[in-house]
Symmetry: C3
Subunit: 141 residues, 3 copies
């Protein structure tokens, strides 16, 4: 078995849900070497997150943004952590619900995603800045 | 270290939460070869998900179905993605909250689940059809 | 590639969110051997969970407790699973939303966490007792 690891810095994206499957694959071309393997993508932040969901109709991503804004609203008077702006504490909560990593099997040199699956970068801040990812793949050639 | 990978197609299940621990173990009998290892189960869909929860009292699974239907309700007039029926957009949201994979340690040839833990297939559609899983295990004999 | 695995039992903590990064690293000192690797931490329970979030301001953890108590309230009359006390079914729901494991890259002998990231043990029961974790690391020296 072998393992490869690569850092990937994504330039600032606007608040919302963004498909990054292509950027991830390009950052670690050694994925193609694995007959059988696993890819892990990890985000080094607590106010943005990663998930897997539909890669086709863009209204799904718009509905995600609408929905999670309802589930974790801004300006809840019960928040104690409010020094960094109204979008900060909701961002932490959304990041915890969605998760800081995705783990995807590799099969015959390709990510074994379903037809409709893509990797989402979930940007929960209004101005989140660049986002740092660590991409790791391991398996057998 | 070695790695094994297997596809598993589960026949259509009714909407709700279903324990699939036995099906997963039977699909990859090489789990028993690993003294120390990891099992990953990945679902290739965006309207069904995987999680780990109580394997005993079936009312837990009924409460999960009741609860997630409240948290991600059908027919929210703010959904833009509504072409595939009222159960579709809530299914995507539930799948994102629960996740597309579970990762479980292997110890002495067995999954190191706690006494009360089982793997749940979470079917969020009314008629979701067959569901395709990719099961991967790696570790040391 | 090599793999190490260790059990870690944490003494009972009070209901809420607790940073356990140091305990995890101390339990598996072989993390430092890996130039490139992955750490997985798994909790063998269905009423406590693991996530990654802010390691600095303690009000973030207080807001997490306040928030998840609202999202998964006690005493919903629709819960069928209520034999083990009002904190039990909400604990299962919170555990499913937050997850039973975290997976973190290792880089140059250290966890590749972001500056503000820590590992949270999320104790969802009032008296949850000791909690058993399985810690596994694999990678290349």
């Amino acid at each position: 078995m072998k393992m490869y690891q690569q850092l990937l810095t994504l330039p600032q994206k606007r608040r919302g849900f963004h498909i990054i499957t292509t950027e991830v694959i390009h950052a670690l071309p050694q994925i193609s070497e694995f007959k059988t393997g696993i890819l892990q993508v990890f985000i080094q932040h607590t106010s943005a997150s990663l998930t897997i969901n539909e890669n086709a109709d863009p209204t799904v991503r718009k509905d995600f943004e609408m929905y999670f804004n309802k589930v974790a609203p801004e300006n809840d008077p019960e928040y104690q952590h409010d020094d960094e702006g109204p979008d900060d504490m909701p961002a932490h909560l959304k990041a915890a619900m969605l998760g800081s990593s995705v783990t995807i099997p590799i099969r015959n040199g390709r990510l074994a995603l379903g037809t409709w699956q893509g990797i989402y970068l979930c940007e929960h801040r209004n101005y989140g800045g660049n986002r740092s990812l660590v991409i790791t793949a391991w398996g057998e050639a």
